[in-house]
């Protein structure tokens, strides 16, 4: 299990963002003029995928919303929008978090990594991505971005996990297709333990 992602830390984050998580609204505005009363947006500089992105963010805005609808990073999926499925998993300072349950303002001083940021500059797939392709890990693919990010976080903290450790670490990511065995094969391959 990723030692940086403690239960206490995760719960703290969820509580902090509960106001946002309680709302199912995405505030996805075509004209940018409509927002909840008091929701004055503030210009933030976010470090996303190694780049500084300047974006107007409302106080209650979730990271998933900012990524998907303001920065166009739709690889981060919303399966439940309330911290149940893990499809929106991204990294903040190498720790996997649910972007649907994290306020964007919370990560303004952190390095955010999404699935779009994993490829090398020359286009080479990240070892987790390559392993997932080789093991045919995705099924429908809707949860895959989150699975990739949780696997990347795991291998950063535990480069050679046992299959049981991998199972525990990935357990916050639901796969409705049930492709768990193939995802675990992918994790083991990415860690060099499956040839």
């Amino acid at each position: 299990m990723n030692p940086k992602l403690t239960r206490r830390r995760f719960i703290k984050g969820v509580i902090a963002s509960s106001a946002a998580a309680a709302s199912t609204s995405l505030w996805y505005s075509a004209i940018g003029a409509d927002r909840p009363a008091g929701a004055v947006e503030r210009l933030l500089s976010l470090n996303v995928n190694g780049q500084t992105r300047r974006v107007d963010v409302a106080p209650q805005e979730t990271l998933a919303h900012t990524l998907r609808y303001k920065l166009g990073l739709t690889g981060t999926k919303l399966g439940c929008n309330r911290g149940e499925c893990g499809a929106c998993t991204v990294l903040a300072d190498d720790v996997n978090i649910y972007a649907c349950s994290t306020l964007t303002h919370e990560v303004s001083n952190k390095a955010v990594m999404t699935v779009e940021g994993l490829r090398a500059a020359d286009g080479t797939l990240h070892p987790v991505q390559a392993a997932f392709v080789q093991e045919l890990s995705p099924a429908c693919g809707f949860c895959t971005s989150g699975q990739v990010m949780s696997a990347v976080a795991l291998l950063k903290s535990n480069p050679r996990p046992t299959r049981e450790e991998a199972r525990q670490a990935m357990s916050g990511n639901l796969c409705r297709c049930g492709a768990y065995d193939h995802y675990l094969n992918g994790v083991m391959r990415a860690s060099g333990q499956l040839s």
Binding site: S23, T24, S25, L26, W27, Y28, S29, A30, I31, A33, D34, R35, P36, T74, G75, T76, K77, G79, C80, N81, R82, E84, C85, A87, T114, V115, E116, L118, R119, L125, V128, Q129, F132, V133, E135, L136, P138, A139, C140, G141, F142, C143, T144, S145, R163, R167, Q168, M170, S171, N173, L174, C175, R176, C177, G178, A179, Y180, D181, H182, L184
Partner: protein, 813 residues
């Protein structure tokens, strides 16, 4: 047979996009001027809409309009309406949609709309409406009546009506207590063989009640859609399991010419039966966009996906099974009440069909009744009918075998369908069956003999359970079209109207074309997912039927294009078509390889020759969708197009057998799966990794059905208690074994050009059956006779608190 492509792993073209986040689903698309629609859903389980006051909402700046049932053709019950008015039949049913310039505004507007409802009585358990004097879910009754009438306008429902069937208190009481409801009225019934005589010849007879509770599909991608109208066309980004087979139906829902509908759906985030065909809410997305003349994204939340995303039908039933001295199943009598929710049909006959093929009884009777309740609408869910029957039947068959002194596996092998096996009420034949061999193979993988010889008691609080179960679903159809285009540069475009539901079958099936063409896969492009890309009429993706059905149509298209290439070569080099061969992406004179041309050169010649070669002409018997696609590509290359007219007879059975070993904690009711081994009888294996994924994924679905997934309703208020994923409890990584062992028989079905049959649904059926069998084995043969079996039920049983099927309660804790 040695194949070039079939049976080999390959990387489907969409996998990389899935791991990089580049794969786009319906909600990922934007369009300039796009507005946002949200649903207002019913807070009551039954009633009617008296009035809607949206004036305050419509007065809000940025709110563009509302869309109600009055804007749609009337959908007469029991057709599932996109928006309800006169017949509100479940909590969460969509009443109206509101559109605004932002998603937030749309949600704000919803809170300002006042809807006045008139309540009606409601019911959440089918037996509560079945009994005399019980409330009806619809004002006009409680049961589905099939008729030959036309489907309701704007819907895809078949001709149905709502009728009323009631049983006496005595009949319902008998049924609740696990006895035959003598003299009761059913909605459908069939029988074969001499039931009385066969039961008389049986020496082992068991009689059991059973309950299976419905469960939501909970596809991870909800059914959010986006539509816009431009230059006379409607562009629709949706989420369906199938592609072209739903195209005309969607056009019908939007009352438009299919030729003007562009349906875009490259990726689908799960469907599991709930997205086989267009679903009602798609009518709102498309029509609201047309009414507003703006691109509309109608976003469906997780809660709403629970409400409108379909669910499995539940069963309440009674069964009597007779075994003869030789271990053969002599007779089966089964009665099933199906919970059809607020709409949809039950799967009782399919449940009974599972028994007919898996145990080949000499005589059998089925009686079924599909009853509505004020719960979410039901529809096909992975092996509808067959898999829930597999679940409850496995431990019953164990009981019968044990009573008869038979080994549970040997008993199943004795009764398993062979090549001359029969199926269903008409006792029709099968296209192939290697089920006895599959049982042997799986038993060997699992080490059955060794496993059952182990001690039951593992420790003071842990007991071992060994289970075996079978799954089945019909897995094939015919009559669809194949379409291939070879461009002058030699690229081979394999067009398919198969949807991309996550099984990679859309790519797997066209491997049959590549196989026939003996071409390099790297030179092939799989064209799919967008009707503007000129796709053929392909089968629906459901019922495990894609691989069998579409390898046939892919094959016939390849045969057509090969025949045309040979004719082109004859025109160039002389001789007869029989004198020519293909290989190395060339067509050449068999006796003189130098006389030939590349596929690309043949394509160039086809353009010059025109007619059928370049798609200027095409067969009359192909579907209108295919015709449009051929016409659009005419003159751009060599076209191979044909309808599958290959011989076919009997049912195509996809089957699977699973073995499982569990360690059950008698203090907590929790268990761990120590071993899971399953074998698919799916004909030739087309894509080994894909088979593994289907079997493993189906296994996970089976574990969920056995241990956790179910509808729970508050019978006092009609409120659903487990709307979210966390509450509905589909399995996580921690609910499944660390390793799963699966294999395929790899024995060809003679009616598929490559020998393939589907397996998606039996993969779940065998797993849930095996786990239910293991529960019973671990608890000294105790039968829960229900799914799911939750930890509290196990603990209560061990504590002798008597939690059992009892009075057949469903949809409650």
């Amino acid at each position: 047979m040695t194949y070039m492509h079939i049976g080999k792993d390959f990387t489907p073209p969409d996998v990389e996009a899935k791991v990089t986040g580049a794969a786009r689903y319906a909600e990922d698309f934007k369009k300039d001027g796009m507005v946002f629609a949200r649903l207002l859903t019913s807070p009551i389980p039954a009633g009617r809409v008296v009035s809607i006051d949206a004036s305050a909402a419509l007065a809000m700046p940025g709110v563009l309009g509302i869309f109600t049932a009055d804007d749609l053709p009337e959908a007469k019950p029991p057709a599932n309406p996109a928006l309800a008015k006169e017949w509100v039949t479940y909590i969460g049913q969509p009443i109206l949609a509101v559109a605004a310039e932002s998603d937030f505004l749309a949600e704000e507007a919803l809170s300002k709309i006042v809807v006045e409802y008139q309540r009606r009585p409601f019911v959440v358990d089918p037996l509560d409406t079945l009994v005399e004097g019980g409330p009806d879910p619809y004002p006009m009754g409680n049961t589905l009546i099939r008729n030959s009438g036309e489907a309701a306008a704007g819907t895809t429902a078949s001709g149905t009506d709502v009728g009323r069937i009631k049983w006496s208190i005595d009949q319902v009481t008998a049924f609740r207590n696990g006895r035959e409801p003598v003299g009761a009225q059913f909605g459908s019934e069939w029988e074969f063989g001499d039931l009385a005589a066969q039961f008389a010849a049986c020496t082992t007879i068991i009689e059991e009640p059973f309950v299976t509770i419905g469960q939501p599909h909970h596809s991870l991608e909800s059914r959010t859609g986006m539509a816009y109208w431009e230059n006379g066309k409607c562009y629709f980004h949706g989420s369906l399991q199938s592609h072209t087979v739903g195209h005309a139906a969607l056009a019908g829902m939007l009352e438009m010419d299919p030729a003007n509908l562009v349906f875009i759906n490259e990726n689908t985030g799960g469907g599991f039966g709930s997205k086989i065909f267009p679903y009602p809410i798609m009518a709102v997305t498309g029509r609201f966009s047309r009414a507003l003349n703006r691109p509309v994204q109608l976003r469906i939340t997780r809660d709403e996906e629970f409400y409108i995303g379909s669910a499995r039908s539940g069963m309440q039933g009674w069964i009597k099974i007779g075994l003869k001295d030789d271990g053969r199943v002599g007779a089966v009598d089964v009665a099933i009440i199906n919970d059809a929710g607020s709409g949809g049909g039950g799967s009782g006959s399919s449940s009974a069909e599972h028994i007919t093929i898996m145990f080949q009884p000499e005589a059998m009777r089925f009686r079924g009744l599909s009853l509505y309740t004020n719960t979410t609408p039901r529809g096909a869910q992975r092996g509808p009918g067959q898999n829930e029957m597999a679940a409850v039947l496995a431990p019953m068959m164990d009981k019968a075998a044990n009573q008869a002194g038979l080994d549970r596996v040997a008993f199943r092998r004795t009764n398993a369908p062979r090549m001359d096996g029969k199926i269903g009420e008409r006792q029709g034949g099968l296209s192939s069956s290697y089920m006895p061999e599959a049982i042997d193979k799986a038993a060997q993988m699992f080490n059955w003999e060794q496993k059952i010889a182990q001690p039951k008691q593992i420790s003071a609080t842990k007991v071992r359970g060994i289970g075996v179960g079978q799954g089945f679903h019909t897995a094939g159809a015919n009559g669809y079209d194949g379409l291939i285009r070879i461009a002058p540069d030699g690229t081979i475009y394999l067009h398919t109207g198969v949807g991309n539901l996550g099984t990679y079958s859309y790519a797997g099936v066209v491997r049959a074309s590549a196989e026939a063409l003996q071409c390099n896969w790297d030179n092939c492009v799989v064209v799919h997912g967008n009707s503007e890309l000129n796709l053929p009429h392909s089968t629906y993706q459901g019922g495990s039927n894609t691989i069998f059905t579409e390898t046939r149509s892919s094959h016939v298209a390849a045969m057509d294009i090969i025949a045309k290439m040979k004719e082109i070569a004859v025109a160039e080099f002389g001789g007869a078509v029989e004198d020519y061969s293909i290989g190395g992406e060339r067509v050449f004179l068999t006796s003189d390889n130098a006389k030939g041309m590349s596929f690309g050169e043949a394509a160039q010649k086809a353009i010059e020759m025109g007619g059928k070669y370049s798609g200027m002409e095409f067969p009359e018997d192909i579907n209108a969708t295919t015709k449009r696609s051929v016409q659009a590509m005419a003159g751009t290359g060599l076209i191979g197009v044909a309808k599958d007219l290959l011989p076919r007879s009997g049912a195509v059975p996809g089957m699977a057998i699973a073995f499982i070993e569990i360690e059950l904690d008698t203090e907590t009711g929790k268990f761990d799966i120590l071993d899971y081994s399953a074998v698919a009888e799916c004909g030739t294996v087309v894509h080994p990794q894909g088979l593994s994924q289907a079997m493993n994924g189906g296994g996970v679905w089976g574990f969920g059905m056995a241990q956790s997934e179910r509808h729970v309703y508050d019978p006092q208020n009609g409120l659903p208690a487990n709307v979210g994923l966390y509450q509905s409890k589909p399995p996580t990584y921690l609910d499944v074994p660390v390793n799963m062992n699966t294999a395929g028989m790899d024995m060809p079905d003679p009616q598929s050009p490559v020998g393939a049959k589907g397996i998606g649904e039996p993969a779940q059926g065998c797993a849930v059956a095996a786990l239910m069998s293991a529960f019973s084995d671990a608890l000294d043969g105790h039968l829960f006779n229900r799914t799911p079996v939750t930890a509290d039920m196990i603990v209560n049983h061990i504590a002798q608190n008597g939690h059992n099927t009892g009075n057949l309660k469903t949809n409650t804790f």
